[in-house]
């Protein structure tokens, strides 16, 4: 044990956000308003800011890594724009790419929490290609960085698709207003990042993942085996 480096513990978080046309207006504005709130949490809460590193992947017909895995406190936030259709396969390819690149960017020997991906969509897959194989690539147990995927559906989201995306935890937002739904989802993401960042080690509950998903705003969906 003679290395000279410092390797600080990291909790890697990947936000996977649907930016298809149906997100136009209030929903995409709610996403853009939530990102500064997440940044503020990182800056103001030492327990979160010292550990959590966040990446943002948006998807429509294609996926874009809008923010590579980074300390949000020192990151210039992009404005997320609405695009076109909904391609879940592109989303999962983009997620896997973001995770591989993000984890490779960490200093060698960095102690890491299991990565968590928060997926949110208001629709269903509309592209011609099948998305199951891209999802399977992300859930592949042989992949070292296989993330926990927590999925959130709102608006016209397909419940079964939202269930299929999740590794264990899937939720549908309850409110009838998509803007409120997006706001509640983003609040749940920030709360879950906060509670997981300050929690340690629970072998029987959630593999270290601690969700803050209030029952008054979300309906838990039963797990769907893929």
């Amino acid at each position: 044990m003679s290395e000279s480096s410092e390797a600080f513990a990291i909790f890697p978080v990947f936000l996977v956000v649907d930016v298809s046309a149906s997100m136009a207006g209030g929903p995409i504005e709610a996403v853009n308003q939530a990102l500064p709130a997440l940044k503020a949490e990182m800056q103001s809460n030492p327990l979160v800011g010292e550990i959590a590193r966040v990446a943002l992947v948006t998807f429509s017909d294609e996926a874009r890594v809008q923010i590579p895995l980074a300390d949000l406190a020192y990151t210039t936030l992009p404005e997320v724009l609405v695009e076109g259709g909904t391609n879940f396969a592109a989303a999962f390819r983009g997620l896997r790419q973001a995770i591989d690149q993000g984890m490779a960017s960490l200093p060698k020997g960095t102690p890491v929490y299991r990565p968590v991906a928060f997926f949110m969509s208001d629709g269903e897959h509309t592209a011609r290609e099948d998305w199951s194989s891209a999802l399977a690539e992300v859930k592949d147990e042989r992949w070292k960085w296989r993330p926990e995927i927590v999925s959130f559906g709102f608006g016209e989201a397909n419940r079964d698709a939202i269930r299929k995306v999740a590794t264990r935890y899937a939720f549908m937002a309850k409110d009838h207003d998509p803007v409120v739904q997006v706001r509640e989802i983003m609040n749940a993401l920030i709360g879950s990042i906060r509670t997981t960042s300050v929690s340690f080690r629970d072998p029987s509950q959630q593999d270290g993942l601690r969700l803050e998903v209030p029952a008054e705003h979300f309906t838990p969906l039963p797990r769907l085996e893929t």
Partner: protein, 272 residues
């Protein structure tokens, strides 16, 4: 009424990395009976010396919840010391109680058998006793009090350590810390097995201890030893010779980016 000024002791302990300022600690109401946020001890017998400290982690101080680590140092025969180090699992409401009960059980068992039991046997027997006491006295299940733990017995001629879970042992020689158990490369927030556990006897890892000073540590300290050259340098220098209980506590007062867990360590310096 306004906040009163709180004084602290000065320390030379380093700050490593980007460490944000912490809000003042507040003890949250509605929690299970709490325990001291710091525990210190030192012992000596026939030239063998040991010192241990357990400090509540930044996370607990920030949340107003209590330390969940525990440790014990027991002189069981002249020149023979038993060390127990325990890490209560974070989310269990009474894991701190389980950690303390386990330490008590190991101490009682070493007293009953004059220190002749092997560490693995002590670990299994203490785990069973802890589960019984938790159920009969407190009405708590094994899950309520879950923890991981290590028991070591160090005599004048030999030493051995047994553990279940990721409590760690290091040999300290000069500036070098050498792990006794193979460190795993799992994610740091995932634990696969804990005590009390009916399968414990089949899952325990046992290793002989090399001669020289030994360090036993819970994950909060062990991770820093593995991943921080600055922590290793600070502690190797501080632990180069036996310490009092207060000095042992001061050695663990460093601040480090991302190091929020409880820190517990026991160092044993053999007779020279």
């Amino acid at each position: 009424m306004g906040d009163q000024e709180v004084r602290d002791l000065s320390t030379q302990a380093p700050t490593i990395g980007r460490v944000m300022p912490l809000a003042g600690a507040a003890t949250r109401e509605g929690q299970p009976p709490r325990r001291p946020e710091v525990a210190l001890d030192a012992a000596a017998s026939d030239g063998v010396r040991a010192a241990g400290a357990s400090l509540a982690g930044v996370r607990h101080l920030s949340e107003g919840t209590c330390r969940q680590d525990s440790f014990g140092i027991f002189v069981v025969q002249p020149g023979r010391i038993c060390v127990v180090v325990v890490d209560g699992l974070g989310s269990r409401v009474a894991s701190h109680l389980g950690a303390d009960l386990f330490v008590d059980a190991v101490g009682q068992l070493t007293w009953e058998n004059q220190g002749l039991a092997a560490p693995a046997d002590l670990l299994v027997a203490a785990s069973e006793r802890t589960e019984q006491v938790a159920a009969s006295v407190y009405g708590l299940s094994a899950s309520d009090i879950a923890f991981v733990g290590l028991v070591a017995v160090i005599g004048p001629d030999q030493g051995e350590v047994a553990r279940l879970g990721d409590v760690s042992a290091f040999a300290l020689a000069g500036d070098e810390f050498t792990e006794v158990f193979e460190p795993d490369d799992k994610f740091i927030n995932v634990v696969e097995m804990s005590l009390p556990n009916a399968e414990a006897a089949h899952k325990i890892e046992v290793k002989p201890l090399p001669p020289g000073p030994m360090v036993f540590a819970t994950d909060g300290l062990a991770q820093d030893l593995r991943t921080s050259a600055a922590v290793r340098a600070w502690l190797a220098d501080y632990w180069r010779s036996p310490l009092t209980a207060f000095a042992m506590g001061d050695s663990l007062r460093y601040r480090r980016q991302g190091s929020h867990d409880d820190r517990t360590g026991v160092v044993v310096w053999p007779s020279t």
